[in-house]
Symmetry: C2
Subunit: 623 residues, 2 copies
């Protein structure tokens, strides 16, 4: 990098900082905070304000609709953002007060120390790296450990408020009465709260203690706004970042992350495999209000120059510590790829498609030894609990096509992940389980059932699954179908897929499309499970649609800009947004308008009630 390039990058970051939260604001929305039991516990929420409904009888108020907000400080127009400084360390006091961690005088990993001292990467380095924190000797600082001791941490209270989204209050507010009606859910044996009042810090604690949910929250990521991943909470989504083959600039990576947050990703996985992943990761974590996940074996492999056989436990261990001290919140670890399972993939149509899985398979075969992640699993747990990094136990043998779904290789590995879950839980380390991939519709349910039974209801985290292989270019959709279904069946987090899947690297528009697709799939799953209050936003939007409140319809959408631009493509005039008709039918011929007449007529005649009665009594003709 030339001096000029460095200066340019620095200016870009400053530019981005200046207006990032202004540019990313949503229309007619306000960032509010739910106050917790202590002053520094403030949970962000977005409220969407609506226009009044104008009727013959006058104005009718449409109350504001709260929506879950993943934007962090970027979603708060009053926040001063400085990407070079990083986000404020919200959780620092919580960590300090627990008094079970030490601030280390220097980084524990050899690689981390080397990079910190490397003059060649000085220009890329984040300037305000704080000293790392680690559990005191003999201490266990995981959320699961606290939960099992009956301790409700601020993190648990935070997620309780966040999940509840003040719906408990709204249930007691007459304005929301009709809007809060919803269909009964079907939850396949999940223990969902049935009323917002039940979403309490104690409920969160119990779910964490039982291993049914996790709060990925590394003690070295104090900037994090805690969130929860579990079958009995809102379904979450993950978006991926990664500079891969094409090198992108720091600014680009940070901007891509903020862009993902804006559209609503709940966690971000940094899957970079380039040269400066250590430095890029620091920038990302310091600016991330959501949990960051990684696949440490990718970086370990980089360190061997790409030679899988040269991987060693020591090298991997150093990488885990390096990343844990940067603040990574969850690690994908492919410890279930056992030597004896590898040949089970030989007759598959597409073999091993997981990168981590194929690296470990290659290592196992080359050394004719058991996977070192499996044999060193207890030592990995020791690291995880010293920083509270959560496991995302990787499905290295997941199917890469419809044909290979649900085969012996896949389910053998899943059973081993169950064994490792039990082991991790003996260390009070938080665990989620990764799942496929490519599965035809009728075989998705079996994936969920097997996971629940073999992995003791640890949260399931799946990639799609894609329900057919024949639509490259549309795999956000083929996988969104599978994702909505498996979310309904009980999957806690859905890893997004973009339209470029299998074809190329996603650009910003692909990321947006991928995230919105997964937001709608996760929401469809929440509705189907019967999450309390899930239908509020649907009801509000549909009421707005029926009443021709076009602007409210846009505002309540997952993607207001796209909704508005699609509307404007046909009827761009500003007047059309308040008109009592739309482009589909025109002003004269409008079913919604006719319906309003039907409704007025029925009301005038008192017919609605009578008709229900008559039909129920089997009356033949309405008189």
């Amino acid at each position: 990098m030339t001096i000029q390039e460095i200066r340019h990058e620095s200016e870009q970051l400053a530019d981005l900082s200046r207006d990032i939260n202004i540019r990313f604001a949503y229309p007619n929305s306000e960032r509010i905070y739910l106050q917790g039991s202590r002053p520094d516990l403030r949970v962000p929420l977005r409220q969407i304000y609506q226009d009044d409904t104008l009727t013959d009888r006058g104005r009718e108020e449409n109350p504001p609709i709260p929506v879950y907000d993943t934007g962090g400080a970027y979603g708060d127009p009053s926040a001063a953002i400085d990407l070079k400084q990083g986000l404020p360390p919200l959780r620092q006091a919580w960590l300090d007060e627990r008094g079970d961690t030490d601030i280390l005088p220097e980084l524990s990993s050899r690689y981390g120390r080397e990079r910190a001292a490397d003059p060649k990467t000085a220009h890329l380095r984040f300037k305000h790296i704080t000293q790392p924190r680690r559990a005191k000797a003999g201490k266990n600082v995981t959320q699961m450990h606290y939960a099992r001791q009956g301790i409700i941490t601020p993190e648990m209270e935070f997620v309780a408020l966040r999940e509840r989204m003040k719906l408990d209050e709204l249930c007691r507010d007459e304005r929301y009465r009709k809007l809060l009606r919803q269909h009964e859910g079907q939850s396949f044996g999940a223990r969902l709260p049935t009323h917002p009042d039940q979403i309490t810090p104690e409920f969160v604690r119990q779910e964490i203690a039982a291993g049914r949910a996790i709060i990925p929250a590394n003690i070295n990521h104090p900037e994090l706004e805690p969130m929860i991943i579990g079958r009995n909470f809102r379904v979450k989504i993950n978006g991926n970042l990664g500079n891969s083959a094409v090198t992108s600039s720091l600014t680009e990576e940070v901007e891509k992350m903020v862009w993902s947050l804006r559209w609503g990703t709940d966690t971000v996985m940094d899957l970079s495999t380039g040269k400066h992943i250590h430095e890029t990761r620091e920038w990302i974590i310091r600016n991330a209000p959501v949990p960051i996940g990684t696949v440490p074996i990718y970086q370990a492999l980089e360190k061997t120059g790409g030679i899988a056989e040269d991987l060693t436990w020591e090298l991997f261990r150093d990488t885990l510590i390096e990343q844990a001290e940067q603040g990574v919140d969850y690690f994908t670890i492919h410890a279930g790829v056992l030597l004896r399972y590898v040949p089970l993939t030989a007759n598959r149509l597409t073999g091993i498609v997981s990168r981590g899985g194929s690296i470990m398979a290659k290592w196992c075969l080359a050394h004719h030894q058991e996977n070192f992640l499996y044999t060193h699993f207890d030592e990995i747990c020791e690291i995880m609990k010293a920083y509270d990094v959560s496991f995302s136990l990787g499905d290295g043998l997941r199917p890469g096509c419809i044909a290979d779904a649900n085969d012996e290789a896949q389910f053998s590995e899943l059973r081993t992940l169950g064994e490792l879950t039990a082991k991790a839980w003996r260390h009070d380390v938080q665990v989620m389980i990764e799942g496929p991939g490519h599965v035809p519709l009728q075989r998705i349910r079996a994936n969920m059932d097997e996971e629940l039974s073999h992995c003791f209801e640890a949260p399931f985290y799946t990639l799609g699954p894609l329900v057919t292989d024949i639509a490259p270019g549309y795999d956000h959709i083929t996988s969104g179908i599978g994702a909505a279904n498996i979310g309904w069946y009980g999957t806690a987090m859905l890893c997004y897929v973009t339209p470029k899947e299998h074809l190329g690297l996603p650009d910003k528009e692909d990321v947006r499309t991928g995230i919105i697709t997964y937001k709608l799939a996760a929401h469809a799953a929440d509705l189907a499970k019967g999450w309390p209050g899930a239908q509020l936003r649907d009801n509000a939007l549909s009421k707005a649609r029926f009443e021709f409140r076009w602007r409210d319809q846009f505002r309540l959408s997952l993607d207001p800009e796209r909704a508005e631009s699609f509307h404007d493509a046909t009827l761009p005039a500003e007047g059309a947004k308040t008109a009592h008709f739309c482009s589909m039918c025109g002003p004269k011929f409008c079913s919604m308008k006719i319906t309003q007449e039907v409704r007025d007529y029925a009301a005038a005649q008192g017919m609605a009630e009578k008709a229900v009665e008559f039909v129920k009594n089997g009356a033949e003709i309405y008189r």
Copy 2:
């Protein structure tokens, strides 16, 4: 229209004719025909040719993959197309030979005759309108009538060959052995064939006779290539056309139809509501190789100047005959919107959203009389059977939002549609049933179950359903999720939804996206039900993907152009299409490449078989 504009339109049509089938060809594909029992029975099929696989042991042939082809003559590069002339009347000899129809000396409908003589629309008129055909007095010319008499029509043989897609032959071809493997389906009590050999003309006849399937094929649409809609066949999709509020030119409408066929729509509904719908419809039908459906009440309403109360049975009847003699293959008729059901919608969140439903509701209330479509249903059946127009019994009370799903209004109407199905079947008239709309995931299954039981397994034809209301701009996806599920449960045809749904009129790109979304949803349903051979294309594409045959991956895709352009956005070089790596991982770090090494290693050691055995025997360590 000025003379200049007319001349311009005419030139456009000529231009479009000239190269329409060349422009719309698919890469590396060939149009072939399956020869039936008579020379004029030739069933179109597209074959996709693949490259060889290059291995250390030499070349391995990848056989051509047959795919269902809706393109008609437009998919045959050797066909001479003249849009002003219309397609050749393939079925004419079949109709003549049956000897049960008369060629009428003039149009039977008053409106048809008026338009034919109207000098103001002369310039828009299709030049080669043939004289209409009608059943001889006392004759019934429906496919259901023939089927129930044990007659296998050429139409039935055609669809048997079309559905079977020569998979019976491929099952006996060693090259396809591995590619034809597929997962067991779950079909919820459907009577699907379990082997391609079972897809016979006699099987088709039985399904038609039982009312479980229909072949929409008006005797005045001899250009039609017959297709079948039924739960025990491939799931079909419908795409909509319509010039609505914005007037589009004839050329544009015809081009949009051909565009839809190219992407694979199985039927087209012409939902136009403009001034020249009679003339436009003629152009569309004469150039349509697929069934055309309409909602005749739309045109009837136009004739009243948009005043629902002024609709009369006589006006509607004339419209039915007008359209039947043009060749419309199925009519949406909202005969289940009964007067007593209308007030059931008054307390809904979004009332009545079906245009046809709201027109009929308004009429019923204004006159305080029962729906004239219901009271004149037998007379409608008399018209249907004289031309073999199929019923698509409209769901005028379908829910317009999640909140209103599965309510009393909806299911009351559905039960009435069942009653009407039984009545239509007494006339041997073919019937399908329209379904919703907006339904949360957990309540979709009930829609299918209710339909099967109340409507005696008549084919179900649904719009989506959308599984959430919060994603305008992405409703092709919210509805594609519902569509894949309800298709799996047994729905026979899925009406597409474009990204512009609820917002504006779809442009060509929206139509493409909507159709491909529904093609993949229908295919996911075929896989899930276990339709024989459905997985062939998935397997072929995945094998191509695994072997880095990029071009074959594109060719086998539902949308080869998009797949290729997405690939090229990252790696545009021509060499990258034959490279053994892709942009996601780069040349060094490729899971597929590593897998190939694992496979070679395992093969060399004879490990695959041993490992399966060891794992099955519960061996602890592979030696």
